[in-house]
């Protein structure tokens, strides 16, 4: 009971609601219940925005994020909170233990992933028939937007949030992240944003899809503000998350851990974090301008009043393209990290892999106009962006080469994490090659804005990132929780998901080539069979995720079979610690002497001392 009275999620929600009303009241004081120039609409646009902002601020105050700054202002010395050593209350409040934040992220993102998935199922129900309307056409557009926006916003942090936060300090031999409170902030901002996004259904939804193109954006109902605020919160969360990762990796590596001994997973997180820190602020600025257009009658993006919709498109995609590499790079990192363990060979071409990751990061800034090939950009630009986009497949290919050569002459074990990593190769190959088609301007003329590009990004993002997300879950959850996940159920989940995923998205390439545009509620009658096949496969794919949740509950709530400290026999340092990892990670900071890929070489530990005596074994 005492716990309930502290600063935690409950007080956060209560103060969030209070903040909502404060924001609404302030807006009404500024502009009155209905503004003359809004004419006859029922909502005061500014009040929706300020109410949500007030709600977020109240929520954060209620969680206790202002406590430490105020304490410092009053002269208290710098300190970290006492890490509670146990209790599930930590997971529902501001906790500075990076491992708790990692698990919070895993569950929080998991929940919103399932919500986004439900929206996807509803979309496919609508597309079962070209003539029957299950959802009114405007609501359908909101569903499309909700699915895309929720997934893009949440899954950008899908690997860095749970696995980055949990593992980076351990992998570099540290006891914490550089900025533990900011780490917690990134998580709670994301959760607040997710709730705000779903409430758009109470404000009329939004008609633009996840890209929020102007001027349709300004034309939207107040539900559009939910999208703008959600994505702005995601942007802030991503910037701070990336910042935290960079600071930690650069400054807090243990002695002996030189750059060339760093696990490839850490390199992947680092290159992703650089993209996050540089790209997300562009998004925040763009959405801020869109909010001003909607509330303060500016016209950044309204052509008839001097603005330009091209400005929005370019700003959005300057963020948007690095964003998709933010989604893809962690997948590369996980695959390259796990393959050595399950092939029992060192990572082949370590430096080539790093140049692949960094090369993708760098080149991702030079390709964004391939989203705008037919939008009326200056014709001179198109050959350049075609070249740069084609070139980015070269560093992407490095990941393939390093992975393939790691398998070469190895001793491959087909565990569940390994299956997901191998599926990555299949999916990302298809995704990447379809990207080659899309990067070619003549081919793009037909496939832009069609289901072909939808299939492309689902293969790269879902087939790439989400499959590796599951690989990471099956691989690291025994370390994080100390309990095994059922291997047989894991294999069933994998095959169920892999087959259903390909059955769902492969036909969409055909649908796009046959002329079905994106985000449409109806389609030509001759495409009915394809759409019905895809919908049924999608339902099967959704059921696979429910089966996964069943496995989680079964293994972690009911069976609770303790996991060994190193079930995968990995040489990486996190597996030399007990499961779950004790609160302070290491009793003594380790000294590193090699990278974790010494398979087939004379045995030597990655770091000494390599384990903490405290905790379960």
């Amino acid at each position: 009971m005492r716990r309930l009275l502290g600063f935690n999620l409950l007080t956060g929600i209560v103060l969030g609601i209070v903040g909502w009303y404060v924001g609404w009241y302030v807006a009404h004081s500024i502009v009155g219940p209905s503004i003359d120039y809004f004419g006859d609409i029922d909502y005061n646009e500014l009040s929706v925005v300020l109410a949500y902002l007030g709600g977020v601020i109240g929520f954060l105050i209620g969680l206790g994020f202002l406590n430490y700054p105020f304490a410092r202002l009053r002269g208290y010395p710098p300190s970290l909170r006492e890490k509670e050593t146990g209790g599930w209350g930590r997971y529902f409040s501001l906790c500075t233990d990076h491992k708790v934040v990692g698990i919070q992220y895993l569950v929080g993102i998991g929940v919103f992933f399932l919500i986004g998935g439900i929206n996807a199922m509803l979309i496919r129900i609508e597309l079962l028939s070209p003539s029957h309307q299950t959802f009114p056409a405007g609501t359908y557009l909101t569903l499309v937007g909700l699915h895309g926006t929720m997934m893009m916003g949440m899954m950008s942090s899908a690997i860095l949030g749970p696995f980055g936060n949990y593992l980076i300090p351990i992998l570099i031999g540290a006891r914490r992240m550089a900025f533990p409170r900011i780490e917690a902030l990134t998580f709670w901002l994301l959760m607040a944003g997710g709730v705000i996004l779903e409430t758009t259904v109470f404000f009329g939804g939004f008609p633009t899809g996840w890209t929020g193109y102007e001027p349709l954006n300004t034309q939207g109902n107040p539900g559009m503000d939910c999208y703008l605020i959600f994505f702005a919160l995601v942007g802030i969360s991503m910037t701070l998350l990336g910042l935290n990762m960079i600071a930690t990796i650069v400054t807090m590596r243990a002695p002996g851990l030189t750059w060339t001994r760093l696990p490839i997973f850490v390199w992947g997180i680092l290159s992703t974090s650089v993209l996050m820190v540089l790209a997300a602020p562009v998004l925040i600025a763009t959405l801020g301008m869109a909010l001003l257009d909607r509330t303060a009658q500016t016209s950044f993006f309204i052509p008839s009043a001097g603005g330009s919709n091209y400005l929005y498109e370019n700003l959005f995609w300057v963020f948007g393209h690095p964003e998709v590499y933010i989604l893809a790079l962690p997948g590369f990192a996980i695959v390259l990290e796990l393959l050595p363990v399950f092939a029992r060979k060192p990572l082949w071409g370590y430096r080539l892999a790093i140049s692949g990751l960094l090369g993708v990061s760098l080149l991702s800034w030079f390709v964004w106009q391939h989203h705008l090939f037919v939008s009326g950009i200056n014709g001179d630009l198109r050959p350049f962006y075609m070249l740069s986009t084609e070139l980015i497949s070269i560093p992407t290919g490095f990941t393939f080469l390093c992975g393939m050569m790691t398998l070469w002459r190895g001793k491959i074990r087909y565990t569940v994490p390994m299956l997901f990593c191998l599926a990555w190769f299949f999916n990302f190959l298809i995704g990447g090659l379809s990207g080659v088609f899309l990067s070619d301007v003549p081919s793009d003329v037909t496939t832009h804005g069609s289901f072909f590009s939808m299939a492309h990004f689902h293969y790269t993002i879902m087939g790439g990132l989400i499959f590796t997300f599951f690989a990471g879950i099956y691989y690291w959850v025994p370390k994080m929780t100390g309990f095994q996940l059922n291997e047989t159920m894991g294999k069933i989940h994998f095959w169920w998901m892999f087959i259903a995923f390909n059955a769902t998205f492969a036909p969409l390439f055909a649908a796009g080539f046959l002329g079905q545009p994106r985000r449409v509620v109806t389609y030509p009658a001759d495409l009915t069979f394809i759409n019905q096949w895809v919908s049924v496969s999608a339902f099967i794919l959704g059921a696979a995720q429910l089966f996964f949740v069943f496995n989680l509950v079964y293994s972690l709530v009911f069976k609770r079979i303790p996991a060994e400290a190193n079930p995968w026999e990995s040489k990486s340092i996190e597996w030399q610690l007990p499961s779950p990892v004790p609160v302070y990670n290491f009793s003594k900071i380790p000294v590193f002497s090699s990278d974790p890929y010494g398979y087939g070489e004379p045995a030597r530990p990655v770091a000494v001392p390599a384990s903490s005596p405290a905790g379960r074994d």
Partner: protein, 227 residues
């Protein structure tokens, strides 16, 4: 054993709660921004189906017909009981002759594209306004449009003058309020699912006048379900 029972109970409760939430969500979405279907009564004249549609277009639909959006502009249709209802999805017979009478109680906002000021897709590409047969109106006089693009049907509805007496406030409007009467005839073809919409930017307060009610089925948009 006791711990396990509690876990089982807890899991079932959580799953049931999630199911209820998802159920509410889906049911809200299926009703949100939609419209029930109104089946238009069919007469048979010389062996061919004929229907009459009597429609009202209003400046503000009012709290009785729309508690959520009393200030939205809207179409209303007169049902078989003679009541004006806000239903914009109409079930019509195939290969039928459709006689449409529209009473417009709203003022003019003007067409964005003047090309749409000429009636198209009606019998003779003309219509009658307050008894006079016209083949074009001034685009600035247009208040709303009834258009079924799949049929090539576009009919611009002229508006009530700004200084007219006894203008209608909230719907449903009565014939004693200032109004214009527009009549035309068109024909349905094969069975299918056809959208209709307004083309006049009449949603005051939204950018380009095309937001809000202009993008909501049940107000300024609907379907013809022809079967």
């Amino acid at each position: 054993m006791r711990a396990r029972t509690w876990k089982l109970v807890g899991t079932i409760v959580v799953v049931a709660a999630i199911g209820v939430l998802v159920g509410f969500y889906v049911s809200k979405l299926t009703k949100e921004a939609g419209s029930p279907t109104y089946t238009v009564p069919v007469k048979t004249v010389n062996g061919k189906p004929v229907v009459d549609l009597t429609i009202q277009t209003v400046a503000a639909v009012g709290p009785t017909l729309s508690p959520a959006h009393p200030d939205y502009v809207s179409y209303l249709i007169r049902n078989t009981q003679g009541k004006w209802v806000r239903e914009t999805v109409w079930h019509l017979p195939a290969h039928a002759t459709v006689h449409v009478t529209i009473y417009n109680f709203d003022g003019a906002s003007g067409l964005r594209n003047a090309y749409l000021a000429r009636p198209q897709g009606t019998d003779g590409n003309t219509y009658t306004v307050d008894g006079k047969t016209l083949n074009v109106i001034s685009p600035d006089d247009a208040s709303h449009t009834f258009a079924v693009p799949a049929y090539g049907l576009i009919v611009a509805l002229p508006g009530v003058a700004d200084d007219a007496k006894n203008q209608c406030g909230y719907a449903p409007c009565s014939m004693s309020n200032a109004h214009r009467t527009i009549q035309f005839t068109f024909h349905t073809g094969n069975a299918g699912h056809f959208r209709w919409q307004c083309f006049v930017p009449c949603a005051a307060g939204w950018l380009y006048g095309f937001g809000g009610p202009m993008q909501t089925i049940g107000y300024m948009d609907g379907f013809l379900n022809v079967a």
